[in-house]
Symmetry: C2
Subunit: 198 residues, 2 copies
């Protein structure tokens, strides 16, 4: 048997990455708020929220490998969330313009009594953006569902990202190379056959 | 006026990146062989081939900004070309497995008497791949049009790329951030208006 997978995320980027990596899965969006304790160190937040989402999908872990994730953009030890409106998106992108920030994705993979919690960080350097480039992007792409107000695969990613250090897919929302390795381990452990890969 | 652009490449990845970056363009595939002098240092080859492609599109540069590019994969100072068949693809991917290589894309942007020639290099680290993963990838994705026998956006990119240093889009075939900056400069120089961006 091969353990069926649930992806606990409504992000189309995460769904795309899981598909590209060859996984079949169903989607269940965890019903959680994305709050975290005020005094939590910023580098723990992504993992904390990934685990919170996993906990909300607890009933499924008997029969499914459950994958949840959360991505945060960190600049000056502050977390940039999803922008509420045009002005907030504009301020975020102006803050990222011409400098380096961190993208951290926490992942929680759960099956029965096994819980694997890890994260991955990518260092992203933006070139300087003009006011018009930022305005054009927000109007055209409406990045209100994206932490830090940008998608690496969008117009702004094309023109702004000078370089990254780490995984590009982690910036998109999932460190798929690590997810793949962990699911492979977990699947082998339970003697299932993912014969096409192993 | 805004100068019309010709992309001198049949690569769907390059077309996608140019589109995402907001450019409108037409496509003319340059009719050139991809040979280069035996004694050429490997780090010059991508630029050399990009310029060779530009020369083949010489008649267009009076009225168009012409963009050409060439991407090479370099490992141990050897260039990996497009694989001829399954066995060559297999050997290339086994060579890349579990180690670091360089992807270098040369770009030539030409308009009238201006020629801008540059390149960009990305350092890519692969995790160890199993024989079955490599075989599965080649059978499913047939990477015979890809230097080094892989596409970063394919299955193999998802599972193999542990980290990169540099531009991800450069690995896909075009350092789009640099192309964008150069076309913007060139377009401004000729007093055209790309008003949505500037």
């Amino acid at each position: 048997m091969s353990v069926p997978i649930i992806l606990g995320s409504s992000s189309p980027r995460r769904q795309y990455l899981m598909q590209q990596a060859g996984f079949e899965f169903t989607i269940h969006k965890p019903d959680v708020d994305e709050n975290f304790p005020d005094d939590m160190p910023v580098h723990n937040v992504a993992k904390y929220l990934a685990e919170k989402k996993a906990n909300a999908l607890q009933p499924f872990i008997v029969n499914h490998i459950v994958v949840t994730a959360d991505t945060v953009v960190i600049v000056d030890k502050n977390i940039l969330n999803k922008p509420a409106d045009f002005n907030e998106a504009f301020d975020m992108l102006q803050m990222l313009s011409g400098r380096t920030h961190h993208v951290r994705t926490g992942v929680c993979i759960t099956f029965q009594k096994v819980k694997v919690l890890f994260d991955d960080v990518t260092v992203v350097t933006f070139s300087k953006l003009t006011k018009k480039e930022i305005e054009y992007y927000i109007h055209q792409h409406k990045p209100f569902d994206k932490a830090g107000a940008y998608g690496a695969q969008d117009f702004i990613g094309m023109i702004a990202i000078e370089k990254i250090e780490g995984s590009y897919f982690n910036v998109m929302g999932l460190p798929i190379h690590k997810v793949y390795q962990q699911i492979k381990l977990l699947d082998n452990k339970f003697e299932s056959t993912r014969s096409k890969f192993d």
